[in-house]
Symmetry: C2
Subunit: 409 residues, 2 copies
Amino acid sequence: MKNVIVGQSGGPTAVINSSLYGVVTAARACPDIDRVYGMRNGVEGFLKDHLVDLTSVSEEELEKLRITPGAYLGSCRYKLPQDETDPVYPRIFEQLESHDVAAFLYVGGNDSMDTVSKLSAYGEKIGSPIRFIGIPKTIDNDLVLTDHTPGFASAAKFVASTVREINRDASVYDRKTVTIIEIMGRNAGWLTATSALARRQKLDNPVLIYLPEVCFDSERFLSHVEEALTRRNNVTVCVSEGIHDEKGFLCERTGEMQVDNFGHKLMNGCGKYLENLVRNRLGIKARSVELNVTQRCSSAYLSATDWKEAAMAGSYGVKAAMAGESCCMVAFEREPEADYAIHCHTVPVSLVCNKEKTFPLEWITPEENDVTDDFARYALPLIQGEVSIPRKDGLPDFACLDDVTQRNN
Amino acid sequence: MKNVIVGQSGGPTAVINSSLYGVVTAARACPDIDRVYGMRNGVEGFLKDHLVDLTSVSEEELEKLRITPGAYLGSCRYKLPQDETDPVYPRIFEQLESHDVAAFLYVGGNDSMDTVSKLSAYGEKIGSPIRFIGIPKTIDNDLVLTDHTPGFASAAKFVASTVREINRDASVYDRKTVTIIEIMGRNAGWLTATSALARRQKLDNPVLIYLPEVCFDSERFLSHVEEALTRRNNVTVCVSEGIHDEKGFLCERTGEMQVDNFGHKLMNGCGKYLENLVRNRLGIKARSVELNVTQRCSSAYLSATDWKEAAMAGSYGVKAAMAGESCCMVAFEREPEADYAIHCHTVPVSLVCNKEKTFPLEWITPEENDVTDDFARYALPLIQGEVSIPRKDGLPDFACLDDVTQRNN
């Protein structure tokens, strides 16, 4: 009888705990597995031996954590050293062995897959039988070798719904206004692209969408906005936080304009920068909205498809480990049929880590200010289905391991 | 047979169209009313004779607009002149008479009640039989003579839920961080106070709450934050956009300011200001989140209580007008029993307009960094109950009169 350990790493998502749910339930159902441990705050916490035993967590708590956004176990941004002779490696393996760990599952994005890859490689080198499996997770949808990543679709559903709601808000006055909505995505425009789904018909807002995959040109942007304003009063523009021109990120431009009382640059988003640009150059009432962390932590618009797939990825990871797989990441492959369906398989984690799958250039329109219908066909199936969140006193009733721990301290 | 006209004015809310629904359904059910007209963009559109006939709007469209955020008819920020000899007054009454209007209902906040009050007063002066009724609407909850205002509770439910979600997101890393959440409310702290409902237990985040009713002291704020950081790693602070010290609004410190038609300062950024203050003075990782327009236009966290009460206020307004009332606003009175219940009555609109009901000082703690349990007892009943939003292709399916009009243009 052996044990399984699971960790969460990197930025949280709305369904990262659904993957945890998948891992825990699959491990508990497996007769060959004795205990399921959770690392508090990923590898960083594991190094301090901050573990939690999830083997006997109540069904009620499991159902609750399943709909809870943010990493239930806590997360970290810890990068293992490149140098394999670093003492951290034997230390980790010693600890894994002391806890009788047969399989190490890590839920995360590119950086977390780097951890899985490095531990796999070290384990192979020392002939360790421990299996290392990555469970994909990122709202950015930027992992290679998978059709999409758990977390993306719920963020997409939040973005598309919220942009549609902001369009309603921004269109109530009978005067020309420009609303800039800044969406997460430093190098990959996937999430910003989903704002196109907010349209209920052609020519609907957002009429302009800018992704970081192409070079942003402020003058061209202003002429696009002016042109759009000849067709409609209220213009919504969606931009990725990472849009940039040949001089660099636009968001870094705002620091040049504003300095606080301490002489420090005020770091504002590119949305704020463009809001000021529109107001000052076009003399049009402008507003910017930064969707900020809410787009990755809101449970309001969970996609049932995403939520189920996240759990599936977790449980598939356990089964793959028990079948002897290692050094891999669980990935989704879309069935070729017309109706949407996916299946899980594994891909070598060394081919995934530290790579970014950016938005396909062929899905960006020639004017570089919109995305094509091919993208909508790709994304629409992912955001289908609702998840009902239990409420207590009118508010979402979340699981919170942190509170339990803090009470015990 | 006479007609009724209804308009929406000021900032939109999530349930402003539920009030419109209440007006339309009550008017259609009333045998003495022939047609129900809607003003496009409030009085501003009415002056251009931009009307829409709502008498035969389909049940399907009515059900849809009922859950649609933002003003279905469009809104305006139009202030009637103080001078009663201004030609706009006879013009409005001429137009009302030409459309055989018996009752004028206006859904809005303080400024909109000013419109109702001025038209009532002018109508009385010229002996017009037309009745003028205000239907309260504001997320700010700052109208006097009513227990609360439609729109407040849904915004409150959004704020409390979202703050709870951001707390989840902000607490995943095992390092000291301060998260500042900026909430709407220029002069009244009601909405910011509802962030206290996000706590699931005492000492939970948000551990600090600052309202504009008391003078903000940056040094005292920093010492509160430092003290809180000794007790926990992740500190969430909720602030009203309108917090100020003796030198004025903090948001004006960031260098951004605009003025709207009423001479109100349009503000941005006290959260950003405090984020920089924490980072620079305490050397702590800090982030700020501005909830922005989403808090007033999201349909994700509609309060069923609010939603029903908004419709009730609209239909009560029609009944009051038909019973001969005028120069008044519909108001809510809470029943004295233990269980929550309200009833509608009317109050003189001249006593409501241009006044602000700020947050009671006795509900602010002596340290001026939190609210008391009395407030929770007041607010909790208002956010109860969920409203299911119909979806199409995975996204909320809203009604949109603007699109219809734009297609016709």
